[in-house]
Subunit: 452 residues, 2 copies
Amino acid sequence: MYPYDLSGRNKYYTLYENLRGDILRGKIKAGEKLPGKRTLAKELGVSVVTVQTAYDQLLAEGYINSKERSGYFVCPVEVGLRERPSAPPLQEVEKPEYSADFVSGSPPAKLFPFASWAKLMREVLSDCGEHLLERVPCAGDDELKSAISDYLYRARGISVDPRLIVVGAGAEHLYGVIVQLIGRDKLYAVENPCYRKIYQAYSLNGARCAFMPVGEDGADPTAAAAQGAAVFHVSPAHQFPTGAVMPAGARARLINLAEKRGGYIVEDDYDSEFRLFGKPLQNMYALCPDRVIYINTFSKTLAPSMRMGYMVLPPELYKRYKELFGHNSSAVPLFEQKTLARMMAGGTFERHINRLKNYYRGVREALTEKLKAFDCPHYCRDSGGGLHFTAKFSSAPSDEFIKEKALAVGINLKCLSDYLLAPCAGFEKTAVINYSGITLEAAESLDLSRIK
Amino acid sequence: MYPYDLSGRNKYYTLYENLRGDILRGKIKAGEKLPGKRTLAKELGVSVVTVQTAYDQLLAEGYINSKERSGYFVCPVEVGLRERPSAPPLQEVEKPEYSADFVSGSPPAKLFPFASWAKLMREVLSDCGEHLLERVPCAGDDELKSAISDYLYRARGISVDPRLIVVGAGAEHLYGVIVQLIGRDKLYAVENPCYRKIYQAYSLNGARCAFMPVGEDGADPTAAAAQGAAVFHVSPAHQFPTGAVMPAGARARLINLAEKRGGYIVEDDYDSEFRLFGKPLQNMYALCPDRVIYINTFSKTLAPSMRMGYMVLPPELYKRYKELFGHNSSAVPLFEQKTLARMMAGGTFERHINRLKNYYRGVREALTEKLKAFDCPHYCRDSGGGLHFTAKFSSAPSDEFIKEKALAVGINLKCLSDYLLAPCAGFEKTAVINYSGITLEAAESLDLSRIK
């Protein structure tokens, strides 16, 4: 009656699986009585304990129930339900190799101070020991927050109470937190064009978005404000992809607008460290810490695998943050936070930034030299900031033409129009030269002659 | 006219700051012409280069503009805007110390195999080297996903294509991703009572929620289904806080319901490793991998600071995941992912779980022994699973009374009613004994006699 082969090692489990399968397939029906333990044990040639253990498991999972003094009965488990084959294999897309990739760039790994970093990691491991297992407050480790505050003072000249800093697992994560803090009833204005990830993070988090066209003076909030926008996401130091810098007057107007609306400005300072010539520009945060959320990451300065970012919240929002998330733990491992804290406090971080700046200055010069061969003297707003500039090819027939020409010699390129979130005129025939992932060797050996 | 003290080290910056401050305060008005570089340099006793650098910075930031052959003019920067004092210090609340905390428990640190963990970390550091800086695919590192898949097969008996696994920075993060994948137009059903964090994660991510009252057979979806729920978040193996186990029949009905709705089940297996007696219960995922999202974390098994969780997605949702997030990087550092992968592949993880299980079995026995002294023989559904059970104090006048009595002897305790998300009868006078953070010594030395 129960023709199960229990010759394997795990007899009780095999018996359990056989019985479960038969119940699920309807071979043993609801209400049916299972044989007594002794009877089944004898039939299958196993010990009573084996049968008992299998019955216990079925009992625990609700496939059978036991009635005192009368035995085990099969529970109703809807027929039609069966164990299904596992999913078919998924197709993964191979990434193409480029001779130069001006689209998805990460800092060249060889520039990362790996030896110092590994040394700090070993130090943290032996110094902190089991403390590394402790729960980390949601906003981040105090040591790291202090190091960030000190760094912001030294490098950007802004005084920040470390307790207003929130460390998170990358910028996208923090954008989501911002929506949760400010709410979905507000309209969020994002720059157009901009990093699609920013817009995507807001809309995936359920925020409604309006667009701010980016002109010479950076984002123009007029239209978005007319639609009712109250939160303005801007990168005033060096807009991506246009490279526009927002002048002091426009900054002041935007702050006054946000104040009037009871809203906020998200100041995305994603590549402000890389002002290659002159001092970094003054932050909007310094002008109005009650209305400006300052946000920055380490993926441009350190490595994209180092998924850490931080934001400085206005006190009112920080209060709300504590209420909502105070009981959660930080999403960033303490180990990485401690290592980075030491890297910042010990000066390794700033030395690394300076080295990167020198390096990128060389890359930039090599690239602009190459581009001189073309008739595109207008590096739109080459403000000396950031890791990208734009090059206008006025005589090209179309954006597609520019990209195809480049691709033909192995160059991966996007145009300003590729970063448009909504149609907007004035961004035609302009390539975005994002050189953050370009090595000096690649820049110098770049052969643009074949493009012509 | 410009009475600035530039005796400090950074002359140009001090000059820039002074000029900027005077422009912001309206002392130097819009349209006003700044003195010539040579004139100002002479007046202040500094070099022309110093003045030039300060002017360049003001120019870059848009405080002034230059008109060819006529000099520098102040731009309109709205008055009323000034640099504000930094925010007032924030109040942080001190955490009280308890003799026993049955509310917020983490596994006792001394049980963590720290030496093996640290050894693996050092190994990963020297083996992987600079590869640790590389971009990690959004869904996680392949090595870790394979290790998780193997573990799920060995420990839970389920076959999972590693490519369907998504590694994330903790469960809350993954709940948010689920909302982004399935959308906010669906109604999400959560268990009542349950961990407030689950409900909070859904609602903070903009999902509308309905409630499923938890009874003997786990979550009852009837009312939520009538309201139109299509996504059902359940912990069928061992519900928190009730301890209910969902029997096979109820699981099958729920799966059929989700299928009919074109919806999904989120199977939260948060403490399934800790079935202290008998084998873990079979997963819902195994029954219907097309409709069930399996989710689990390492915060109960390893340490809450190890913010890592994972989910197994139905192929359809994984496809969407790749579309939405394929271009992002993983939110979990590669270093932690590699270390955990080795911990799982090398058997350290399972040995650790077994050690924890033995340990907690002792804690549980010590606690039930102590509780025998009270008139509360009903450890509701003490299914042998998980790290908590409930104890009903029928003769207590109220839930508040139970908690106050406990607190008087230093015991932090919550009742089932504290975890209710919406009013629901039948959960009165029942303490939740969550012993995940209780050491054996604390359990054995617990003096309950003074409570009586």
